[in-house]
């Protein structure tokens, strides 16, 4: 494993492949479901305010970034229902917790894939937001690789942004650090 981040690059294609593999593994293993990935795209920030559930996890080490899973409230209820074998008609603690754990597993597995090239990284605990008319943007103006997935006509997006850590080696970074991500709610 190398710490020479200048010599290492991660392309959007690398990220989208890692996201697709991790999402497929998590959904097929924990929910017995096959999701269909849509067309991958790259964006700097969401163009329109969103509604629903967003779950965010920070990555830190020689590279830093954020991973997120976003979906409608209905999609989130279906995830929790399938995972916990219970019907959820509306968002509740169980639903938000299930989405957080799905995010933890997907982004955790993306992290494991990336660590082979980028070196060890810490993973923060997930932060879940449920609401209407909110917008997310990266404080560092990074590009997000976004992979949409479909399940019976409903959509979920898994996205990751990651870049070399300019502070690498200056201080110890641990899981639980503040997520480098801004929210306008």
């Amino acid at each position: 494993m190398s710490n020479e981040t200048e010599a290492t690059t991660v392309t959007s294609a690398d990220l989208s492949e890692a996201i697709k593999t991790a999402t497929d593994e998590v959904f097929s293993t924990m929910l017995s479901l096959k999701l269909k990935p849509g067309e991958v795209y790259v964006e700097k920030e969401e163009k329109v305010p969103a509604s629903g559930v967003v779950s965010l996890i920070g990555l830190a080490g020689p590279w830093v970034g954020t991973g997120s899973v976003s979906c409608t409230a209905q999609f989130a209820c279906r995830i929790a229902g399938q995972m916990l074998m219970t019907e959820y008609p509306a968002i509740c603690e169980d639903v938000l917790d299930a989405v957080a754990e799905i995010t933890n597993m997907i982004i955790g597995n993306v992290k494991t894939t990336l660590e082979n090239r980028l070196g060890g990284m810490g993973l923060s605990t997930p932060t879940v937001i449920y609401g209407r008319n909110f917008q997310t943007r990266s404080a560092r103006n990074q590009e997000w690789t976004v992979v949409p997935f479909e399940w019976d006509g409903d959509q979920m997006c898994v996205q990751v942004c990651i870049a070399p850590n300019p502070d690498n080696g200056k201080k110890e970074v641990r899981p639980g650090f503040p997520i480098p991500h801004m929210l306008n709610i």
């Binding site: 293993t29 995972m83 917790d97 299930a98 754990e101 933890n104 597993m105 597995n109 494991t112």
Partner: protein, 121 residues
């Protein structure tokens, strides 16, 4: 045998309870803890025969919990199965060096947990 499940996700704690019920392990009371600090408090007041623990948790993570538990003579042989998204060889080795009895990576199937449990008893 009473069991302690340590994970900051209530969803995972529920799933692991379900798997334990399916596994051929005689399970009595299942205690739940949100992190290592809560888990240590429970261990000091209850007697359990098995611990399932996550690694990435707030307050006290699973590796620190593992080290603290193994430092106490009374808990040196307590079976502790780590269940975590951390999947690198380095992290698994670290857990084993700190005294983990087994390691299962998330996402997991019920069969993977059952297989690991069968190897512990």
């Amino acid at each position: 045998m009473d069991v302690l499940i340590v994970d900051d996700s209530a969803a995972i704690r529920k799933i692991l309870q379900r798997v334990l019920l399916q596994a051929e392990v005689p399970v009595g009371t299942v205690y739940e803890a949100n992190d290592g600090v809560e888990a240590l408090k429970l261990l000091r007041s209850k007697t359990v025969g098995l611990v399932l623990s996550d690694i990435n948790m707030p307050n006290m993570d699973g590796l620190e919990f593992l080290t603290t538990v193994r430092a106490e003579a009374a808990w040196r042989d307590l079976p502790i199965l780590m269940v975590s998204t951390e999947g690198t060889q380095a992290k698994v080795l670290e857990a084993v060096e700190r005294g983990a009895s087994g390691y299962v990576r998330k996402p997991f199937t019920a069969d993977q947990i059952k297989e690991k449990l069968a190897g512990l008893f």
